[in-house]
């Protein structure tokens, strides 16, 4: 184990020297074993595997030759727990404590065939990892590991070689767009905050990740807490902020713990806090916990939650960039947006802009889940097609079922059917399909999912998460949910379907914030592509997918015998 030193860093040279020292320490080991300690792997007891491996290596007196370390997410969470042996280019899946002796044997001898995961499969080789480039081969809690892998070079480069304006310019040139959903140009937002005049400005990292079926931000925070903090510090330098907040949802205890630790170790190294790297730049970061409200991902609601109040959205303008936290100019970006800053500053804006499509540059992480073979976290260049994503990388639909739709964009998104799978994944093309990029959840549905039921599921979500401030969202989502429920019970009428459609229009255009404005989308998109399923319920009283009642049976509730 590498000991964490608390050396204060005050120049790029010192950082480079320290990185070299850590690298040399790591090079002493002939081998290493990383056990993923992400949420999914931990939930299937990867902690036990790690302990057993450490004990095994110790009992064989291999501690000096082989490093056993907690690692980050490999992506294919469905095969958890995952263990990698980078020097031997091996990845093991479904590892159990009883397997550790065989795993340690394989450091020298033959790979353990029954645990082998093909790390040359499409799932791995078709990805392009920019944000998740360390592929889980870093101890997420160790600043030494991060520095050895080139961490904080970008921050010191920005501080000592660039003016704040030059940093903003780089980000603008990179073409990076916000990864929190709407895709607003990041550089433009930064320059607005940079230009605002105020005695105090703030940088806020939006880690509320409320979209159900999305876990990219959790994974990035858990595996790369230092990189997100470094991105925030660069942003703060660029816009002239001295204080930052990471707003994390309470459902992510591991991410909270890691970010907390990361803040502390960065402060000890003089890389956060007062006079960062002995420059004149101060930047303090604090964590704020969410408390279970999806709407708090909306930026004005998030601000009011950080201020200690309810997460009620406010009409914009004024935008947070002009008047945000405590009325001060505030830069709010998503976790992944900040995580992209480090590679942009390190490798240059042109390098970044060469990835992706003309309008949607760079890569994006996605959480693949639902009825798909390879569930997990993937990162691909924008412009990849949905088909490549689902069938090449995702391995298609398992168990002989037939693909029906992919849901993107969370509760404000839509369901995209088979015939549009050749569409590319970018902000504009998803919007044209009545969906939305969102934060990156992709839930695959097969013929066992009823699209009316899916629409009802999302509407129930929106109704339960509506803050209640504005009438159309508060009352409209409740009505829409009830109408959808009546349809799934076979009690809907064609008149009511018309009413549902007009309600969608009202709620979409009159709601105050994005939650209400987006709430009708799952209904609109399923009506657009799967109207026949609605008709089957309303006219035929059947559910083709067999969800609302077994296939062929009447979905109406049997009348009470009495």
């Amino acid at each position: 184990m590498i000991n964490q030193t608390d050396q204060q860093i005050s120049s790029s040279d010192e950082l480079a020297a320290l990185a070299a020292e850590y690298q040399a320490k790591q090079a002493q080991y002939e081998n290493s074993i990383f056990v993923c300690m992400g949420t999914a792997c931990q939930s299937v007891q990867s902690g036990g595997v790690l302990q057993s491996l450490q004990a095994e290596v110790k009992s064989r007196a291999l501690e000096d030759k082989c490093r056993v370390s907690p690692g980050g997410c490999q992506g294919n969470c469905a095969s958890a727990p995952l263990v990698s042996l980078p020097q031997r280019d091996l990845l093991y899946q479904l590892a159990q404590p009883s397997d550790v002796s065989a795993i340690v044997d394989s450091l020298q001898g033959e790979p353990v065939a029954r645990l082998l995961c093909d790390n040359k499969s499409d799932f791995f080789v078709r990805q392009n990892r920019v944000v998740t480039n360390h592929r889980g081969l870093l101890n997420p809690e160790s600043i030494d590991d991060y520095i050895a892998a080139g961490g904080f070079v970008a921050l010191l480069k920005a501080l000592f070689e660039y003016s704040p304006e030059a940093v903003v310019e780089q980000v603008q040139k990179s073409g990076l767009r916000g990864r929190g959903g709407a895709g607003y140009p990041t550089g433009l937002k930064w320059s607005t905050v940079a230009k605002a005049r105020a005695d105090q400005k703030y940088v806020v990292c939006n880690a509320d990740e409320g979209d159900p079926g999305a876990f990219m931000n959790r994974s990035v925070l858990e595996d790369y807490p230092f990189r997100v903090l470094e991105g925030m510090a660069i942003a703060a330098y660029a816009v002239g902020a001295t204080k930052g907040y990471v707003y994390v949802r309470a459902e992510y205890p591991l991410a909270v713990e890691r970010v907390k630790k990361a803040i502390r170790s960065a402060e000890k190294h003089g890389l956060l806090g007062n006079k960062i790297a002995s420059s004149s730049f101060d930047f303090h970061v604090e964590i704020r916990l969410g408390a279970g409200a999806f709407v708090c991902g909306e930026e004005t609601a998030l601000i009011s939650s950080i201020e200690g109040g309810k997460g009620l959205p406010c009409p914009r303008p004024p935008y947070p960039a002009e008047s945000g936290l405590w009325g001060k100019p505030t830069l709010i970006n998503n976790v992944e947006t900040f995580a992209n800053i480090v590679p942009i500053v390190t490798n240059g804006a042109d390098w970044y802009a060469a990835i992706g499509t003309p309008k949607s540059k760079g890569t994006k992480t996605f959480a693949l889940s639902g009825r798909i073979k390879n569930t997990g976290l993937v990162e691909v260049p924008l412009g990849t097609t949905l088909r490549e994503m689902i069938f090449d990388i995702g391995g298609g639909v398992p168990d002989g079922h037939k693909f029906k739709a992919v849901q993107t964009g969370g509760p404000a998104g839509g369901c995209i059917p088979e015939e549009h799978l050749d569409a590319t994944i970018d902000y504009e093309s998803l919007l044209a399909l009545g969906s939305f990029m969102g934060s990156g959840g992709m839930i695959v549905m097969d013929d066992s999912s009823c699209m009316v039921d899916v629409a009802k599921f999302f509407m129930q979500f929106c109704a339960a998460e509506s803050c209640g401030k504005c009438i159309p969202c508060r009352v409209g989502t409740a009505h829409m949910h009830d109408m959808l429920e009546r349809i799934t019970l076979g009690e809907g009428t064609m008149d009511e379907l018309g009413q549902l459609e007009s309600l969608c229009d009202v709620v979409q255009f009159t709601s105050l914030c994005g939650l209400g404005q987006g709430a009708p989308n799952p209904v609109l998109s399923t009506l657009r592509f799967f109207k026949n399923e609605y008709l089957a319920h309303i006219v035929g009283h059947t559910c083709p997918a067999g969800v609302c009642a077994p296939v062929g049976q009447d979905i109406r509730r049997p009348k009470c015998a009495l």
Partner: protein, 179 residues
């Protein structure tokens, strides 16, 4: 009594009860300078210390942070994480996020209802078990997922959930038997 102990005693006197856990809550408020913006962090501290928020703790928080009672009550009921009622000894949280729903978490809940007569939000009559739902635990890769007494478990099946709940129920029974 030393001066320090006396000061502590005086501080405890202001708490809703002489429970030592209030010192933790007070420390959290101090950390944030007892500012009004510390409300949510303070409620988190109360709930993680006592399990839920009752009227006397809400009133105490309001007083300490100089906030109106109705505002504190409003915030505590706006966020679904905060609970105003005590929970059972064990808690089972089933994720109802999209990925888990598609993989059948609603059916799991139906089974639990049928077998144990518990709906989401219910606590069993003997206070042994509370059933809750969550909105995506971020463990969609191993959907359907749940949290059993703080531990995330994935790939839930009817059998897995039943065996967990049964073991809790059995355990509580054996405790009462030994009494």
């Amino acid at each position: 009594m030393t001066a320090r102990a006396a000061a502590k005693q005086k501080q405890i006197g202001k708490f809703p009860s002489d429970d030592k856990r209030w010192l933790i809550v007070a420390a959290v408020m101090r950390k944030y300078g007892s500012a009004q913006s510390a409300l949510i962090e303070t409620l988190h501290a109360v709930q993680s210390s006592f399990g839920y928020l009752d009227d006397s703790s809400l009133a105490f928080v309001a007083r300490s942070l100089r906030l109106p009672l109705s505002k504190v009550y409003g915030v505590a009921t706006f966020y679904s994480h905060f609970r105003l009622k005590p929970q059972g000894k064990h808690t089972c949280v089933v994720c109802m996020g999209t990925a888990c729903y598609i993989k059948g978490s609603a059916k799991l809940l139906q089974k639990v209802d049928r077998k144990y007569g518990l709906k989401v939000g219910d606590t069993s009559a003997d206070n042994k078990l509370s059933l809750l739902e969550a909105r995506c635990l971020g463990a969609c890769g191993i959907a359907p997922a749940g949290i059993f007494d703080g531990t995330v478990l994935g790939n839930l099946s009817d059998d897995l959930v039943e065996s967990k709940l049964d073991s809790w129920i059995a355990e509580s029974e054996s405790v009462s038997q030994t009494k």
